[in-house]
């Protein structure tokens, strides 16, 4: 599991859940990528919290978890 903090969000990637549907990379290519391996990874950039949350919500397998101030806000 990879983890990164952007703004108030802590983003956790559940790589084993990823099916490379590429919703996250379409919504927020600055933050998420599928380039380096066959599952989601961090791209190295940043984005708005709104867009990061939308990318997580768009993932069909719930492979992206978002925590705000230690509280899990996605998936519900």
């Amino acid at each position: 599991m990879s983890e990164k903090i952007i703004g108030n969000y802590t983003i956790k990637l559940l790589e084993d859940n990823c099916i490379s549907a590429a919703a996250c990379t379409s919504v927020s290519p600055e933050v998420f990528t599928l380039q380096h391996k066959n599952s989601v990874d961090f791209a190295g950039g940043t984005d708005t919290e709104e867009n990061i949350l939308l990318a997580a919500q768009s993932c069909p397998t719930g492979a992206i978890e978002i925590y705000e101030n230690g509280v899990k806000i996605w998936p519900l």
Partner: protein
């Protein structure tokens, strides 16, 4: 390949009906309030409640500012309930286009093999329509589509019309439980790909279906000599 950046937009339900006799595959046509870009094979994400939950559905066809999805609602999950509840004229929030399961235009010399089971056919139909009807692509295009039985069949007329109109399009419908009919190939798609092809070294494949089906097909295609970079997959679950 450059993919269009997704946008959120409102769409209105124009049409809603079942494609098959078993009322399993629901077709819904939407009209978008904005112009949208789309590559055949991509999907849209629908906001299904105010909690922010979303469900993704492949686009079967687009015409102007209208698009159509076809969904197997038999799992009866939250997404199925949302789609069943939609009424003609109702507005819904859509995000898209999403995904990178599209035709790789850098492999123009390859013959094309499409393999789907169930509603995995939806993105493939968009791709095949785009190749044949819009681009008049002359490459050999072969489709294997696996369903359980006759009651599950839909789009038969559409695919037969393509088969009769384009000599380079070959369509094989495979029923795993065909009953007494002898009209279709009996058995799984892997059985017939194995029977029909000695080698697939000159082919590029687009495979859509369940995790298990994709694993079985990939194993077979690799055994037939297909290079890994020529194998594209989209998992439905």
């Amino acid at each position: 390949m450059i993919f269009p950046r997704p946008q959120k937009f409102t769409s209105t339900v124009l049409l809603k009906d079942f494609l098959d006799n078993s009322e399993k595959f629901l077709r819904i046509r939407f009209k978008s309030v904005v112009a949208f870009e789309f590559l055949a094979g991509q999907y849209f994400s629908f906001k299904i409640n105010e909690k922010g939950e979303r469900r993704s559905y492949s686009v079967a066809a687009t015409v102007g500012d209208e698009f159509e999805i076809a969904v197997d609602i038999s799992p009866e999950g939250a997404g199925s309930e949302f789609l069943k509840s939609l009424q003609i004229g109702q507005e819904t929030e859509v995000l898209g286009p999403l995904g990178r399961f599209v035709i790789d235009e850098s492999h123009r010399q390859m013959k094309l093999l499409f393999v789907a089971t169930g509603s995995g056919i939806v993105p493939l139909k968009a791709m095949i329509d785009d190749l044949l009807l819009k681009k008049q692509d002359a490459r050999e295009i072969t489709l294997y589509w696996g369903l359980r039985n006759r009651a599950d069949i839909f789009w038969l007329e559409e695919f037969n019309l393509l088969k009769n109109s384009f000599k380079n399009f070959h369509f094989h419908l495979c029923l795993s439980k065909p009953g007494e009919t002898a009209d279709y190939l009996e058995g799984r798609v892997t059985k017939w790909i194995d029977t029909h092809f000695e080698s697939l070294q000159e082919h590029e494949a687009y495979v859509c279906g369940s995790h298990e089906m994709i694993a079985d097909v990939k194993k077979l295609l690799k055994e037939k000599g297909m290079a890994a970079e020529n194998l594209h997959e989209e998992q439905f679950f």
